[in-house]
Amino acid sequence: MAVCIAVIAKENYPLYIRSVPTENELKFHYTVHTSLDVVDEKISAMGKALVDQRELYLGLLYPTEDYKVYGYVTNSKVKFVMVVDSSNTALRDNEIRSMFRKLHNSYTDIMCNPFYNPGDCIHSRAFDNMVTSMMMQVC
């Protein structure tokens, strides 16, 4: 269960960012922003190979004392960044992958919507619902 999920466009501006409301959201915004560097670094590292050979799931970008940041990039250079609470040790890599997959699927659905212009902020309710389901349930 993530504490913050963000969708970053190719040009590195956020298309969608949502955090658990209890925390200082700005902190997460900053975290996501800094993680973009790591994402770019990972992309460029594998960039030698063909794009289709590149793994979409980037894995743990970097851990901090409180949380871990995972990354995922699509073939169109749209990035998904997920911040997960470190205390949630039960969260395994597989689950992170599945969460990213769901995000990707929902994002694809949004793209299929002709009323959505790529580059716009994401306002889809379905996407919101899906993200809510993945966010931590903070009482």
């Binding site: 599945s98 769901k102 919507n113």
Partner: protein, 802 residues
Amino acid sequence: MEGLTLSEAEQRYYCDLFSYCDTESTKKVASNGRVLELFRAAQLPADVVMQIMELCGATRLGYFGRSQFYIALKLVAVAQSGLPLRVESLNTVKDLPLPRFVVSKNEQESRHTASYASDADNPASYSGVIPPPPGRVQAKKGSVSHDAVQQRTSTDQESTSPVVSPQQSPPTSPHTWRKHNRHPSGGNNERPLAGPGPFWAPFSEAQPGSSAAGDPIWSGHSPPPHQENWVSFADTPPTSTLLAMHPASVQDQTTVRTVASATTANEIRRQSSSYDDPWKITDEQRQYYVNQFKTIQPDLNGFIPGSAAKEFFTKSKLPILELSHIWELSDFDKDGALTLDEFCAAFHLVVARKNGYDLPEKLPESLMPKLIDLEDSAVVPVVSEVGDQAGEVGYSSSPAEAPPSKSPSMPSLNQTWPELNQSSEQWETFSERSSSSQTLTQFDSNIAPADPDTAIVHPVPIRMTPSKIHMQEMELKRTGSDHANPTSPLLVKPADLSEENKISSSVKFVPGNTVADGYSSSDSYTSDPEQIGSTVTRQRSHSGTSPDNAAPPPPPPRPHPSHSRSSSLDMNRSFTVTPGQQQAGVVAYPPAVPPRPQPSQGTGPHVHRPVDAEGLIAHTSTSPQQIPEQPNFADFSQFEAFAASGVNEEEEDEIETHPDVLQAEKPSDSASSLRAAKTEGRVEDKAATSVPNNTGKGTTPLAPPPKPIRRRLKSEDELRPEVEEHAQKTGVIAAVLASQPSIPRSVGKDKKAIQASIRRNKETNTVLARLNSELQQQLKDVLEERISLEVQLEQLRPFSHL
């Protein structure tokens, strides 16, 4: 009851009223509460109401059936017109105005009724106030929300150009709606559905003709809640004419609705949505949608691409956000294109939205694309069946009752689809899971696929019982006709596992009979002693690879005293070829050699005798080594004779080594004991002859016992030709050969190698044992001497210590 004849308008009106009162959707009985309310709204004195009720027979029956209701209504009309209430007046009074039901708060109902009746009756008798156009309805917001709605609904219809409605933004008008009508699904039957129809016409690029024809004169029932707002994207006056007839029915119904709704608590109705599916598409609506679909995509089975749909729906002037949401809801398969069903659903949602209804979070069931593509039946003749339809629709299409035009399978499909939709989430997860199996990281969620091509990760059950094939193989082995093939695979495995297997295991277990694997009962084995090696190796290999084998191998029976190990082919051949000649590699096995798992044993010595590796591995080399000794087993007398005769002829070492080696390699206990005895005897003899030699012999073995033995072996190899040249030896060998039982040729060289190594080990053991005994003896002697010396010392020593 006397027959009641009603005019068309009356019929419709009454039908609608009845449906309004039919809260339980029984279509048979109007609820008393509603009826009474209705009567109250008629603004009639109570006694008149009572009279009416009596007359219609409701009091007699206790409920209001349809006929009673109609009669009652007629009587109300009669009463309102001032005529005396008489039963006979029901039919006699002509041109009776429709009964008026007035809502306390709103006088517009009267207007509605007036408008309702205006079509059929003389509007003169009524206030005939034309309701303000929808646009101006806003001003009357103060009134009850539903009233406002009603105003809006009704006005349009009366207006000459229903299509022409001010393009008001939807959100504004249904303001009050939203307050009360959060759930579009909640009892909206009473909301008149002004019908999105006409305003769609404009939706298009003003195709009056086509759109007019298709204008859905939505009987407005059901669905999108209050389609009171006939939003028009473009004005198409020509359509109004065509709408005249249709709207009439629609309007009637809608007004009735409004009337009905006005008198009752809308909130209550909203809750009871059991008989109303606000999202259901009526026939007219559907037809309209279909026509619109055709304008974009002529093929009804085809798709509308997203871009075209976007243009189309953008014309509705809804905000992009809402259109986006509508798209999300309606594009069921998420393919970026709209099928007919999806298009209709989207259209319907737009209409609803236009009329102020909030978009649902999830696609309503009735809008879900049907699993089976329904034929778009011809437009249901509205004219003739207005009444029925109105009545039907008035019931607001209880879920159990599907609209007549729709296929009967639809409701079931509708019901099934939601389940599928709900399970689509599960589908997604499954697909996600399956797709995730691309990487092996999800080993915890996926068991390694049982792909026969992939390496077997988990133990695979192996054959436990022999099969015919195995039996055949065993036979083959026995016959020795094909020793190479059956045994080679067996031997290969053992060779691999020889290291791990207990090479020096003294367990002479008899492995199962199966050739390939498994531990079968040893029963069958005993009959196949020669299979030991292969089967043993097999077993061992399996024990290594398949830990899940059930039972451990049965304890092998005691080794046969008979020589079960087949001599190598070459040996036999060599023996037979050169019976009288001792060749380098021709040595006969002693018959007393017990069965041994040769492969493991064969390599054992390899390990232990690295020096002689090259010699040991080669069967020819080992066998010859063993062979020379074997004659000793077989014929000790000969051995003794040999020893006596041959000792002096050869070097002592060699002779000694030779018999030692020979003896050491005799695996049999008896032979070894004899051997030991003889060896000792020989040693003693040698000692007698040359003590230093013996001591040297004794000492030499002391230092590196194995090495000298090995050296002896080696030397034995060298000496072999010399040794074997002995006639006695040859005789012995021949005898041994003759005494040898027919050994299956199937036993490979490995077996011999193992046997040879076994013998060597034994030889080593015996040699060492001898040495040990000798040394012990020497120790004793020395100790005795020491004691004696000490005694002497004691005696000789002066009594100094005393």
